[in-house]
C-alpha cells in the first residue's frame, strides 16, 4: 500500500501571523495538488465517500484533478457540495472523509480537504458556479437565515425553478461563516463570492429582517410564500452558570467574535464598535469556537492567552489543524481544568477559580467523564471568553404558534424535514444544535428536495 507521506500544506509563519488576520493555511499549488492526488488509490468501495455527510464523489474528483480536467473536477464536487472552498477549509476532515480513508490504516490519509479547497478555489477563480438556471416559475418560497443551511436551500430551490427570497436578521449575509469563523481561517471574500453567486442565480436577499418579529411565518404565507425553510442556526450563547458571570470583562464568544468580525473592531483600534481586551485572557471550552476566540485574542494583542477545558486533550472537539495552529501561535491549553467561579473587583473580573478534574468512566458521548478532584487553582485574568456552546435563538419559537420544539429549543422535524406546521421545513443547527457547516449545508439541500415534492402536490 501507498506509504508516500502526505503533502503538507504551507502555513504562514507562526510568529508573523499573530499580528494579522490573513489566512494561515496557504493552500496547495497545482504541483502539490497533483502530488497529493496521486496518493489516492482509487478504492472501488471508497470509505471516504460514505464518511462525507454529503457524499462528495471523492475518488472521481481526485482522478479528474490528476487528469488535468479541473473544470470537471469542480463540477463533480459541486453536484454534492455547493461550498467546496468553504468546506475544504472548515470541515472536521479527520472525523469525516479523511478519518475513514483507507490509507489511514498503514500511513496517512489523503488530504481530501486540501484537494477540495484547491479545486473549489480554482472554480471560484474561473467563475465555474455561474451557470444559467431554470426560469423563475413564479412560486414564491422563503428562506429564514443566510448561514450554510439557508444558502444551500436557496441555491437548490432556485435551481429547481422557484422564486426564492432569503430573509436575514443581521446586516450581513452568511451566518456563522461571516460573524463567527475568523478571516484567518475563512477569508470573508470567499463567503461573499458564494453569496454573489446566489444573487446571480436570481435569489433575492433581504437583510435586517428578523422573522418572527419583522414578519411572522404566518405573515409570510399571507404574503404569498408557499413554503418556508427555517435555517436560523444556533446563535444563543450557553451560560457557564457560575458566580460572577455578569461581571465586566466576561464575554461570550459570540459577543467577542461579533465585535471583532461583524462589527470590524479588528480593523482599527478606534473602531466605532470597540473591543476592550487586556493582556491575560482565559477562554473556556475546547471546540472550534474556543480556538477561534483564543487565536483572535492573540491577534488583537493579548500577551497571555490560555484555554480552560474540563476534559483531556483527545476529547477536544475542535478540528485537529486548528488545535495545532493554536498551539503554534502560543496558546496554552490548560486541560482537565474546570472554571467554577469568576472573581471580580468593582464589577470587573480579576480572577477565575478552577477545579482540577480527573477522568472517569466513558459517558454517553463515549468520552471519559471529567470528575471533580476537590483541588482548586486560581488564575489572574483581564478577560474571560466563554465558548461552551450555543442553542437556537428563541425568537422564532416564541412567535410562531404551533411550531413544536425540543426542550432545549431545537425545532422538531419529521423524516421529510417538515416541522409541525405544514409547508414549513427546517434544517441545520436550529434542528441539530450547534454542529458543522457541511451538515447544515446538507440539511438545506435535502430540505429543498422535500419542499419541491411538497409544492408539487400542493400547488398544482
Amino acid at each position: 500500500m501507498n506509504k508516500i507521506p502526505r503533502t503538507p500544506m504551507r502555513n504562514q509563519d507562526a510568529i508573523e501571523r499573530r499580528n494579522h488576520f490573513l489566512e494561515v493555511a496557504l493552500g496547495y499549488s497545482l504541483e502539490e495538488a497533483r502530488a497529493e492526488a496521486a496518493r489516492c488509490i482509487q478504492c472501488k468501495n471508497p470509505r471516504c465517500v460514505v464518511a462525507c455527510p454529503v457524499r462528495v464523489k471523492i475518488p472521481e474528483f481526485i482522478k479528474l484533478l490528476l487528469e488535468d480536467a479541473l473544470d470537471e473536477a469542480f463540477e463533480t464536487i459541486y453536484e454534492d457540495n455547493i461550498l467546496p472552498s468553504i468546506c475544504g477549509r472548515v470541515c472536521p476532515q479527520e472525523s469525516q472523509c479523511e478519518g475513514a480513508c483507507i490509507l489511514n490504516i498503514k500511513s496517512e490519509s489523503v488530504a481530501i480537504g486540501a484537494l477540495e479547497r484547491f479545486v473549489g478555489d480554482y472554480g471560484m477563480d474561473k467563475n465555474l458556479a455561474d451557470k444559467p438556471v431554470k426560469e423563475n416559475n413564479g412560486i414564491k418560497v422563503a428562506v429564514v437565515g443566510s448561514g450554510p443551511a439557508g444558502l444551500a436551500n436557496a441555491a437548490s430551490m432556485r435551481r429547481k425553478g422557484y422564486d426564492v427570497t432569503i430573509f436575514e436578521a443581521l446586516h450581513e449575509y452568511g451566518g456563522v461563516l461571516s460573524y463567527g469563523i475568523p478571516d484567518f481561517r475563512l477569508p470573508k471574500d470567499i463567503v461573499k463570492n458564494e453569496i454573489d453567486n446566489l444573487k446571480k442565480m436570481g435569489v433575492t436577499f433581504v437583510r435586517d429582517v428578523v422573522v418572527g418579529k419583522s414578519i411572522t411565518i404566518e405573515q409570510l404565507f399571507e404574503d404569498g410564500y408557499q413554503s418556508v425553510f427555517i435555517g436560523s442556526g444556533a446563535g444563543l450563547p450557553s451560560a457557564l452558570g457560575v458566580a460572577g458571570e455578569n461581571l465586566n470583562g466576561v464575554y461570550y464568544a459570540n459577543e467577542f467574535l461579533t465585535r471583532v468580525n461583524l462589527m470590524k473592531a479588528r480593523n482599527e483600534p478606534l473602531s466605532k464598535t470597540p473591543m476592550k481586551l487586556g493582556d491575560t485572557i482565559a477562554v473556556v471550552g475546547g471546540g472550534n469556537v474556543a480556538m477561534d476566540a483564543a487565536r483572535t485574542a492573540k491577534r488583537l494583542g493579548a500577551k497571555d492567552v490560555f484555554i480552560l477545558y474540563r476534559r483531556d486533550r483527545k476529547s477536544l472537539p475542535a478540528r485537529l489543524d486548528e488545535i495545532h495552529h493554536a498551539e503554534d501561535e502560543g496558546i496554552d491549553l490548560r486541560l482537565l481544568t474546570n472554571p467554577v467561579e469568576l472573581i471580580g473587583e468593582n464589577h470587573v473580573v480579576k480572577q477565575v477559580r478552577c477545579e482540577k478534574m480527573k477522568l472517569g468512566e466513558p459517558d454517553s458521548s463515549g468520552r471519559q467523564r471529567p470528575l471533580p478532584t476537590g483541588e482548586f487553582v486560581t488564575f489572574d485574568i483581564d478577560n474571560i471568553i466563554i465558548a461552551i456552546g450555543q442553542k437556537p435563538n428563541p425568537i422564532i419559537k416564541d412567535n410562531t404558534l404551533g411550531l413544536q420544539t425540543q426542550p432545549w429549543g431545537g425545532i422538531i422535524t419529521d423524516e421529510f424535514q417538515m416541522t409541525s406546521l405544514p409547508g414549513v421545513f427546517a434544517g441545520g443547527d436550529v434542528v441539530t444544535g450547534a454542529a458543522t457547516v457541511i451538515l447544515a449545508m446538507g440539511a438545506g439541500k435535502d430540505a429543498a428536495h422535500h419542499m419541491d415534492e411538497y409544492l408539487k402536490t400542493t400547488t398544482r
Binding site: 419583522s214 461579533t258 478606534l270 466605532k272 435563538n393 425568537i395
Partner: protein
C-alpha cells in the same frame, strides 16, 4: 437602505426622525425598539419606536456620543444603513387603575407610547417628566394630551419644580392613594431610585432597561441583566421588566465598561 422621510429638532440636543421601514412598522407595538446603523461602518445602537403607521417609524434620540451625533448629521432625503426591528418584547400593559409614568431626560420618548397604551385601555395616566433644565424637556404637549396631570421637574428649576423626579414622585405616592402602578424610564440611576421609592410606598413598578446592545436579537449576550439572581437578555426578554428585583448597580457598571472607548471614538468625530 431606509429613507429619512421627515426630521425635526425638538430641543437643541434632541431630535425626531420619521423613517420609512415597512418591515419594522408592520408589527410594531409599544415597548419595541429598533437597531440602527447610520452607515456601513457604523455601530448598531438601540432606539425605541416612539410612534409608527403602516410604513413609517418614528424615533427620538438625544445626541450623546458618536453614533447619535452621526445620526443627527443626516437630513430628510438621506438614508440609514440599517433599521432593524421591531425588537424586544412589547410592553406588558397591566391591569391597573391609575398609572404614573416617570421619565428622566430622553426617557420621555420611550415612555410616551406605553402611557398611550394604558390610556387606550381606559386607565388613568399621569406623568412626571424630569430633565437637567428646560432645554432637555420634550413632548410636553403630547403628554398633556393623554395625562390628567403632567408634573415637571428640572435640576436647575428652569421649568416646573426644582429638584428630581423622585421628589415629585414621593409627593404623588404619599398624597394620591389611587395610584397603583409606576413606570420608570430614564438613566439607570434614576430608575434605581424610582424603584426604591415605589417599593417603599407599596406600589408595583416597571422599568425599561438600557444595557449596551450589539445585535439586539439575543445573539451576543452583551445586554445581560440580573434580576432576582437570574440572568436575562434585555433585547429578547425585555427591555421592559418588573423593577423590584433588578440589580441596578450591575447594570450601571456594565453600561460604563466601554466609557473610555466611547469617549475616544467621540473625540475622533470632532476631528473628522
Amino acid at each position: 437602505m431606509y429613507d429619512i422621510v421627515e426630521k425635526r429638532i425638538l430641543q437643541n440636543d434632541i431630535e425626531w426622525m420619521r423613517v420609512r421601514a415597512p418591515f419594522v412598522a408592520r408589527n410594531a407595538q409599544p415597548g419595541h425598539f429598533v437597531m440602527v446603523r447610520v452607515d456601513a461602518d457604523g455601530e448598531r445602537v438601540p432606539l425605541t419606536i416612539v410612534d409608527h403607521d403602516q410604513t413609517d417609524v418614528v424615533i427620538i434620540y438625544q445626541k450623546l456620543g458618536y453614533t447619535t451625533r452621526q445620526l443627527s448629521f443626516k437630513q430628510e432625503g438621506d438614508t440609514l444603513e440599517t433599521f432593524q426591528g421591531p425588537l424586544g418584547k412589547a410592553a406588558h400593559i397591566r391591569d391597573k387603575q391609575h398609572v404614573i409614568g416617570v421619565a428622566g431626560g430622553v426617557g420621555s420618548a420611550p415612555l410616551l407610547p406605553q402611557l398611550k397604551a394604558y390610556k387606550e385601555k381606559g386607565i388613568r395616566v399621569d406623568a412626571i417628566l424630569g430633565a437637567r433644565s428646560q432645554e432637555y424637556l420634550i413632548l410636553l404637549d403630547e403628554y398633556r394630551a393623554i395625562c390628567d396631570h403632567v408634573y415637571i421637574t428640572t435640576d436647575d428649576g428652569s421649568l416646573g419644580q426644582e429638584g428630581r423626579v423622585t421628589d415629585a414622585l414621593k409627593i404623588r405616592l404619599e398624597t394620591d392613594a389611587s395610584i397603583d402602578h409606576v413606570i420608570a424610564i430614564g438613566p439607570a440611576i434614576m430608575m434605581k431610585y424610582v424603584v426604591e421609592m415605589a417599593k417603599s410606598h407599596q406600589r408595583s413598578v416597571d422599568v425599561s432597561l438600557n444595557p449596551i446592545m450589539i445585535d439586539g436579537t439575543g445573539m451576543c449576550g452583551n445586554c445581560r441583566v440580573s434580576i432576582a439572581g437570574k440572568t436575562f437578555f434585555a433585547c429578547i426578554d425585555g427591555p421592559d421588566f418588573a423593577g423590584e428585583a433588578v440589580d441596578f448597580d450591575e447594570l450601571i457598571a456594565r453600561q460604563s465598561y466601554y466609557k473610555k472607548e466611547e469617549h475616544d471614538c467621540f473625540l475622533r468625530l470632532k476631528d473628522e
